[in-house]
Structures are given as C-alpha cells and as structure tokens.
C-alpha cells in the first residue's frame, strides 16, 4: 500500500514539475531573483572600488640606521613595475645598534602618527627581515618584502633574503564572532530561499480546485500522496531554481567579483557545511511547505491565497527571528528550543554546523525534522479532507474556515 502511495505521489509530482518547468512563466521565476543579485553585484563592485580607494594599507619599517630608507627607496623604484597593489612603506624608527622595537605593540595600538593604516611592520635587517602582520597579510606580502629587501640590499635582486614570518594569532573571541557571522549568513541564505520558494505552494491546490480535477484525484489516490507529490514537485522546481542561481553566482565569482563575501570556514568545513545546508534547506522547505500547502488548501480562490500570503510571510519571519535570536544565545534553553521546534530547527541546526564540529546532532535533527514533515502532511491531508472535502466523522465543532465547501453536498 505504501508503494502505491509513493507511486501516486510520483505521478502528481511529475505532472506538477513538468507543468511548472515547461510553462512560459518559469523563466520569470528564474530571472526574478537574479535582478537583486546583479544589482547587489554592481553595488558590491562599486563598494569594493571605494573600499580599495579608501583602504591604503601601510607597512611600517623599524630597522637599523638607514636600512628603512633604502627599503622605502627600493619600494618606490619597484612598485610601478610590479603587478598588483604594493602598500606604501614608511619608516617608523631608525634603530640604534642593539635597540629593540616591539612591532606587535605598535600594530595592536591604533596606529602611529603619519601611518594610521599600519597593517604590518618590517623589522630585522635587509638580509634577515621580519614581517609582523596577520596571517593573510603575511601570505600576501611576504614575497613582495623579500623582493624589495633584495633590491634594497647590497646583494642585488638575484639573492632573496628569507623573510621570517611573525603571524599574529586570531583570538578566540574573534574566531567565535567570525563563525557566528558564517552561521548567520547561512541562516539568512536559508531564510531567503525558503521565503522565496515555500510560499509558492500556498496556491498549489487552487489549480486543482479551479479545474475541478480535485475530485478525480481524491477518488484515485490518497490525499496525503497528493500532498506529498505536490510538495516534492515544488522542491524539485526550487532545486532547479537554486541550481540556476548558484551557477550565476559561480560565474560571478569566476569573473572576479572581489566584493563577494569571504566567510570564515565553518566548524564542520565547507564541503560538509554545504551538504548540510542543502539538507536543511530541503527540510525547511518541506516543513514550511507542508504547513503552507495545508493552509493554502483551505483557500478556494487566488484572492484568498493572496490574503493568506501575508500572515504566512510573517510566520516565516518569526521563525527566522527566533533562530537568529537563539544564535546569539549559545548554550541557553532558547538555543535548544530553536533546535527542537520543528520549523526553526533547520535554521538553528545550520547555525550549529557553522559553530560546532560535532556531527551526530545533525543526524538526530534531520530525522526529527523528517518525522515532522510526515506528521504535518498527514494532518494537513486529513484537515483538507475534513474541511474542504467535507469528509471524516463529524466532531460537532466548527472548521477553521467557515465556508461553502468546494465539494459540497448535492
């Protein structure tokens, strides 16, 4: 019997999927969300340019005697012939023999007079320069410094000195904040996709009601198979959309949109985070979609669906806000509640994936969410039968929506 259920759901899903994908309006569905992406990308490019214009990092030099001046001169000679951005060099101190310079303290302070955007400090000697900076800066400038030091030194440019790296470790607090940003970014993306797509199922049963085919469907297949089929068809449509949008994003990345956000690596790593993101999107979509399908099933006209769409959007916002609120309160009952509450669970668990490398909670959460998808579909189908098809034993109470049934007594 279960096989028949899934076979029936497949028939409905196939019909719905083809009906949407091969409709002329689907192209608008695909390109619609790309407009904000393009606008965002263009704004990002302008922003990046502005940022580049404003962000002129400076490398300070604290070397013995006139080594610093030689370095500045060498930089001045090489920079116009070097590809890419070469930071300004400025002499911070001309050290007497034996004099020490605390580069870390200088970098930790708000900058020095004349070099407010100090991003790194070169100490040591021209033969053995020491570059003190953050990890990314060290990786970025190590080669440059070696080349300029060689040019400045007596050895000439054929002998490159080893640049000793003095990386500034990221603090735990900074790491936590970065992961929280990744978690929040994941939640925002999940929310945007589900808000964009889950709302579509609201009007899904109106077509069958308008075409009067609902009665044939009700006589042929179980109602929950109909719900399941419709839900998975729209999920498949969503995935087509996401694949298209993702591809466009990829093209933009390849095209060198430097303004695209670079997030800290999630605790579970990017590959697993993306897999979990996909699974949690599917679950968030199925949970909210089944809920919306059940609610939308009560509507008989497009106008009623439009009326319902506002409270449904509000509901999505509340779920998102709840999950976001819980994100800022790790270890509290609020976080646990957001992970357990079925509709907020995918959002909360995706945030968890960004912040914690432990994997077993995700297995539990996915099973938990799948169970709830089943429960909501079952209850939604029964509610549909009882209130819209006017079936099921009378319980002597009013239906949610007092209305003339689509399939009324004749």
């Amino acid at each position: 019997m279960l096989r028949h259920h899934f076979a029936a759901a497949w028939v409905v899903a196939r019909r719905d999927f083809c009906a949407v994908i091969f409709s002329k309006t689907f192209i608008f569905f695909l390109i619609g969300p790309l407009f904000p992406v393009f606008i965002g990308a263009m704004a990002g490019m302008i922003g990046a340019q502005v940022s580049r214009d404003l962000d002129r990092p400076v490398i300070g030099i604290a070397m013995p005697a006139h080594d610093g001046d030689k370095l500045v001169a060498a930089r001045g000679g090489l920079a116009p012939r070097m590809a890419g951005f070469v930071p300004e060099y400025t002499v911070l101190a001309r050290l007497a023999p034996g004099e020490q310079f605390d580069a870390r303290t200088v970098l930790a302070s708000k900058g020095v007079k004349g070099a407010p955007q100090l991003a790194a400090v070169i100490t040591g000697t021209l033969d053995k320069p020491v570059l003190t900076a953050t990890s990314e800066r060290v990786d970025q400038w190590r080669g440059q410094v070696a080349l300029i030091a060689a040019e400045a030194g007596a050895a000439g440019p054929r002998t490159y000195p080893d640049v000793t790296a003095d990386k500034i470790a990221m603090t735990a607090a900074k790491q936590h904040v970065d992961l929280a940003v990744t978690a929040q970014a994941g939640q925002v993306l999940l929310f945007l996709l589900t808000m964009l797509l889950a709302g579509m199922v609201l009007s899904n049963l109106v077509e069958e009601k308008a075409n009067k085919i609902i009665e044939v469907l009700a006589a042929s297949i179980p109602m929950d198979a109909l719900f399941l089929g419709k839900l998975f068809a729209m999920l498949a449509v969503s995935l087509v959309g996401i694949a298209v949008w993702g591809s466009v994003y990829g093209v933009l990345m390849v095209a060198g949109m430097k303004s695209m956000p670079l997030l800290a690596t999630p605790a579970v790593g990017w590959p697993l985070f993306l897999v979990l993101g996909f699974l949690y999107f599917a679950m968030a979509y199925l949970l909210l979609g089944s809920l919306f399908l059940s609610i939308g099933g009560m509507a008989t006209t497009v106008r009623e669906v439009q009326t319902l769409s506002m409270p449904v959007t509000m509901m999505q916002l509340m779920v998102f806000f709840f999950a976001s609120y819980a994100l800022a309160r790790p270890g509290t009952w609020i976080e646990t509640a957001s992970q357990v509450f079925p509709v907020s669970s995918p959002f909360a668990m995706l945030a968890q994936a960004a912040q914690s490398p432990v994997l077993w909670p995700h297995v539990v959460a996915l099973v938990w969410q799948a169970v709830w998808v089943g429960v909501i579909i079952r209850v939604g189908a029964q509610l549909f039968r009882r209130t819209v098809m006017k079936s099921g034993p009378s319980r002597g109470r009013r239906s949610w929506f007092k209305r003339t049934p689509v399939i009324a007594a004749r």
């Binding site: 009067k212 006589a219 399939i407 004749r410």
Partner: protein
C-alpha cells in the same frame, strides 16, 4: 425541503415494501444505513444500496437528493458519519481505487495538457505506467473518432470533446467498477446515444456500471436495477420493472355517450379531459368495468390500458417521499429535557 413533482401524474406509490436483500449474492457495492451530515444538514440519511456485479445500476433522484454525496461515500472520497459500505470486497474503497473508474459531475482536466497526456495522467493515477497510458490513450481516441485531437491541448477542445476525453480517461485502465455522476449532462443527443452504447458494452464484458441521473429515460433504457433517492433517503431500490409495478396501470377510455348509469362504474379518481376519461385500473380488473360500460350503453369507442413508465413511477415515488419528508420536518420537535 420541498420537491415539486415533475409531472401531473397522480399514481399511488407504495413506499413501505422495499425489496428484501438476497443474503449471499455477489455484490460489487454493498452499502447499509449510510449517513452523511454537513454542518447540521443531513444530506444522506440511512441509504441502503446493493449493486450486483456486472449490473448497470442507476441512482435516480431530483437535484439535491443526495445522489452525488452517496456516490462520493461509496468511492471513499468522503467518509460516512454512520453506516457500512463494501466496494469490490473491501470496506476501504480507496484500497481498490485502481479497479474503479470515476467520472464526476463536475468534469475537470488540466487545460494545458494534451488529450493523450490527460488520458495517460488519469491512467497513471490508477497505476498504469505512463508509456502504456499514452499508447492506450491514443488508441482510445482513434477508436472514438477523436484521433485528430490527440495532440491538442484540453483548452483547445470544445466542452463536449473535453468531456469525452475525460470519459476515456475514466475507462483507460479497464476498471471492474465504473461510477458515473450525471454522465449525460452536457452531451448532445448523438453523444448521449454513444455513451449509452458504451455503458452497454462495458456491462457486456462484465464491468459493473453505476450512474446517477435525473433524466429517467436513460435509466429506463439502460438499467437492470435502480435506487431512487429523495431527501437523502431511498424510498425504492430494485429492478426497473418493480418500480413501474408500484403504480397501477392507467386506463384511457373514450365513449360515445357523455352521461349515463355506466358512469357509476368508473373509479373515484376518474377525470374527464377532452374526449377521454383517465383513471387507475381498478384492483378488480378490467372485466367488471367493461361489463358495466356495455350494460350501461356507454358506447365504447376506445379503451387502452397503459403500464406506467419509470418516469411516472419515479415522480410518484420521489414526490411521495419528498412530501413525507416535508411532513416530518413540519412536525414540532419535542422540547429537550433539561434545557433552559
């Protein structure tokens, strides 16, 4: 609910002796005491229906009598509030949905689908693989002279053609039981005849056909048995002949003389219209009447005895049931105890 009779026929129906049910027959549908209420309104009130396998069975009733609700309960689209139903051997009709074909009164297909695809889709809902459904759909369309429309979208077809496509989609999986709800409505006379032939062909190959209608002529021509539904109840169920036998035959008499002692021999319900007298055949038969007419020198010009048609029987039975329901609803309900 007041139901007006369709004609002025004034027979006397007998409503109380519903035929007893064969205790161990091979029923395609067996339903006892089905009840369905909608927001306090009882749409179906204790309906019993027994449809033998391979029979053509008609459910007759005026608009709003509860025919569609009864069919929906039999199909499992809606569940009864009370009563028992057994369809093709199971009490859960949805389990045997693949062996049933259903054409609802409100026809509907996806407008963007092509005719062949629509049939294949309906077949797929009943478990037929899509490929087979397409092939069978094309064959059926060809067989019924609609081959040229196979690749046309439903929205491009006329209403009647779309209806025929849906009809073919109802039969594509070769069901054991076919349920038609008002199948003749919306069809022209030619297509009505075609549908009648199709129903006979289905029954000839052993398919059970049950259909609802308020056009009695179709039922009279097609059905082995009927159930008359009125006001949510079944005042009659059984063979068509049994329904017609519920009414006494009607006599039409034409006499040369306008008056005389012979008139005392006419029954009390005799009425004079134009040249004719109309009355119900007395239970004593036609011979005593003839004798009285001859002895009274009535001058018999013509005398015919007409067996009532199903239409007359339906009007009388349904009308009487409606009147009875009206009387029952008019009776004041007893004040419930303990309520203020």
């Amino acid at each position: 609910m007041k139901i007006e009779p369709f004609s002025s026929f004034t027979g006397t129906p007998v409503l109380d002796n519903v035929p007893s049910v064969d205790p161990a027959p091979d029923w395609a549908i067996e339903a006892r005491g089905l009840v369905k209420r909608f927001d306090g309104f009882t749409a179906v009130d204790g309906v019993d229906i027994f449809v033998p396998r391979g029979a053509i069975y008609g459910i007759l009733g005026p608009n709003g009598a509860g025919k569609t609700t009864t069919l929906r309960m039999l199909l499992g689209i809606i569940d009864p509030d009370a009563g028992y139903r057994r369809v093709l051997g199971t009490e859960r009709p949805t389990e045997v949905a693949r062996r049933i074909g259903y054409l609802p009164e409100e026809r509907g297909l996806y407008p963007a689908m092509k005719a062949t695809e629509a049939i294949a889709f309906l077949a797929a809902l009943r478990g037929v693989p899509l490929k087979d459904g397409r092939r069978r759909g094309r064959e059926l369309l060809e067989e019924h002279g609609l081959g040229y429309a196979a690749d046309r979208q439903i929205r491009q077809l006329s209403k009647g053609m779309a209806q025929q496509v849906q009809l073919l989609g109802t039969l594509v999986h070769e069901p054991d039981l076919v349920v038609f709800d008002e199948p003749f409505s919306g069809l022209d006379a030619l297509n009505q005849g075609k549908l009648e032939r199709m129903i006979r062909a289905l029954a000839a190959r052993g398919t059970t056909v049950i259909f609802s209608t308020h056009v009695i002529a179709h039922a009279e021509r097609l059905c082995d048995q009927i159930a008359i539904i009125a006001g949510g109840k079944v005042p009659f169920a059984g063979p068509v002949d049994a329904a017609r036998d519920r009414l006494r035959p009607q006599v039409r008499l034409e006499t040369r003389a306008h008056d005389g002692l012979w008139r005392a021999a006419l029954p009390a319900d005799a009425r004079h219209e134009g040249r004719f007298w109309f009355f119900t055949l007395p239970e004593s038969g036609v011979e005593p009447l003839l004798r009285a007419l001859i002895e009274g020198d009535a001058g018999i010009l013509s005398l015919s005895i007409e067996r009532p048609g199903l239409h007359d029987a339906f009007v009388a039975i349904a009308g009487e049931a409606a009147a009875r329901a009206l009387e029952e609803s008019a009776e004041p309900a007893p004040e419930p105890k303990g309520r203020r």
